[in-house]
Amino acid sequence: MSKLFKKGAVMEKAAEGMADQLEQALKNSLPDDLTPEQTAELTPDRFEFAEFDDTLAEKTGYSSYSYWRSTFRAFWNNKLARFLLIALLLLILFTVIQPHLPGQRPPAQIYDFPDGTVMRNLQPSKEFWFGTNAVGQDLRSRVWSGTRMSLFIALIVAISDNVIGITIGILWGYVRKLDALLTEVYNIIDNIPRTIILILISYILRPGMWTMIISMCCVGWLGMARFIRNQILMIRDRDYNLASRCLGTSTRKIMFRNLLPYMVSVIMLQTALAIPSVISDEVFLTYCGLGMPKNIASLGNLVEEGRKMMMTSSRYQLIFPALVVTFITVSFYLIGNTFADASDPRNHV
């Protein structure tokens, strides 16, 4: 049996190589009516018989297709996504190095005029680029420190969503005994509105950064786990997995080596989309009074503070943090969607 298989493969290769040779020969052949110059080029050595070329016969129809390279190329071809990715990376880099730049103000410092009154609600000026807030703090350094804080929370939540979601999703899809139980758990958690779970957990625990992270993790893994489970149900019983199991591969290895690579693109998409939703959840929780403590700058706190100023002339206090939030969320959305399109092999040329 194996011998037959081998022979078949060799013959196939040989046939491919011959086809290749023939194609090249056709390409090199000349048209019928020749000009005198072309006739002059026809030296006798071009009329010799071609030998059978072993190296060409071994040549297979292999193209240098690489999944990831094609994905990144397709992604890179989208001008808007490319621009947003670069801008977003620059923004993240800036928020990280901003406190170490010279001449930055601490975000919690309250500024006074020389006569002792507090610099409240100063309009944007040369001194305070984004103005000051109702307490007299520099809004620019607060916006950057808030962005840093919110991105940090978003990153932690996105990572733990991934870890919890992927683990539960794989177990859910792969281990048949757990299916009924996990489906029931999923239905229960999914049936309660997301906002209610967020509010309830933040209410039961003490409001703060880690409470917020925990409550977001409790709802965040659902979507990921369900998706992974459905994918796994689809590919679990394909022949290559059956073969792998027959050869004695351990369940763990099948999960991580055979199944997980199928889902990498979707996992990246979900991660990219988790970050904007975490930021908007944070704004929501702060709005409910269950967010971060007031003195710590975060995008939720800043939007909430600015919202109160909307109807006054100090509208800039809403506009600056809202612009940052909108930019971050819109770019993660578009980058995530473009990447999902690019990771689909049908879009690779």
């Binding site: 509105p193 709005y287 919202r307």
Partner: protein
């Protein structure tokens, strides 16, 4: 059909029971001071004990849970403790639910009327400018914080059109802006999903066959693609309709609508645990009933979905 409905109904009841019990127990984990208002430190031991006894809180948790279920069976959600002291919860939320549901139902009608054709148009012109424009619109609505653009709508729309800034129950003109604000996020949502489902359907073989037969583009779109794409949308409609009674936190507070939107937050901040319990109970059961109705509606709309077969993963 009857058997399927009965089975689903039983499962819905079971998950409802688990959710209520879970939330009840979780709320009992909170410190007792929450039940007694701000001046706990000044009260003596006996007064605290008497107050707890009056509310039935001195009994062990299983007994409290049993009492709660017994009252629930009579349609009694209990009395509010702090929000409006000793007023029946049902009495408090009834008028609020009416207002929220009225606005929400109108907003939902608007979002279906606008969102579904928007998604269909985008799918038909995939990759051309209506699609790109619509995608931009949807991405913006979904990504920008709604708390912020609602404020801008209120500010500029009232300036531009002279519509009233605050909600007034007896003046329908003042309902327009809240309804539009409520509808915008769901327009984006319906548009996005409709587009995605239709694009998925357009790549199916039966569409290619219909085109090969020479069916006109319009007929393919309306009779084949649209109808098939609409089936998964149908599933979410009952629960969205039921969830309108939850109100919208942002919209209702901006236009000062006396609806359900801010109520949960309000009672949480005042630590009125019976109210929290009742509201969470209502919202959770609405979610479960909505899902149940959605599944049944989907079966009615799409005859291909079999009732006896294995349940399809959602």
């Amino acid at each position: 059909m009857g058997k399927y409905v009965l089975k689903r109904f039983g499962a819905a009841l079971l998950s409802l029971f688990i959710i209520i019990t879970l939330i009840f127990c979780l709320l009992r984990l909170m410190p007792l001071e929450g039940y007694l208002g701000p001046n706990v430190d000044k009260l003596s031991e006996e007064v605290i004990h008497a107050k707890l006894a009056a509310k039935g809180l001195d009994k062990p948790v299983p007994v409290q849970l049993f009492n709660f279920y017994r009252n629930l069976a009579r349609g009694d959600l209990g009395k509010s403790w702090i929000y409006r002291e000793n007023v029946d919860i049902v009495k408090i939320i009834k008028p609020k639910i009416k207002i929220s549901a009225k606005l929400g139902a109108m907003a939902m009608a608007l979002s279906l009327i606008v969102g579904i054709p928007l998604g269909a148009t985008m799918a038909r012109s995939k990759g051309k400018w209506p699609d790109k424009l619509g995608t931009g619109f949807i991405v913006f609505l979904q990504a920008a914080p709604s708390a912020v653009y609602f404020l801008f709508i209120q500010m500029y729309a009232t300036k531009g059109t002279g519509l009233p800034m605050l909600y007034n129950d007896s003046k329908p003109v003042s309902w327009i802006l809240p309804i539009i604000s409520l509808a915008l996020p769901s327009i984006a949502n319906y548009g996005m999903w409709m587009r995605r489902y239709m694009v998925d359907q357009m790549n199916q073989d039966y569409v290619k066959l219909a085109r090969a037969k020479g069916v006109s583009n319009k007929a393919v779109m309306m009779k084949h693609v649209f109808r098939n794409a609409f089936v998964p949308m149908v599933q979410t409609i009952p629960s969205s309709l039921l969830f309108t009674i939850m109100g919208s936190l942002y919209v209702e507070s901006i236009y000062s609508v006396p609806g359900m939107g801010g109520l949960l937050i309000d009672v949480i901040q005042r630590q009125d645990n019976t109210m929290v319990q009742a509201l969470v109970l209502i919202f959770a059961s609405v979610g479960i009933i909505g899902l149940f109705l959605g599944d049944i509606l989907m079966v009615l709309v799409d005859p291909r979905i079999s009732l006896t077969g294995k349940e399809e993963s959602r």
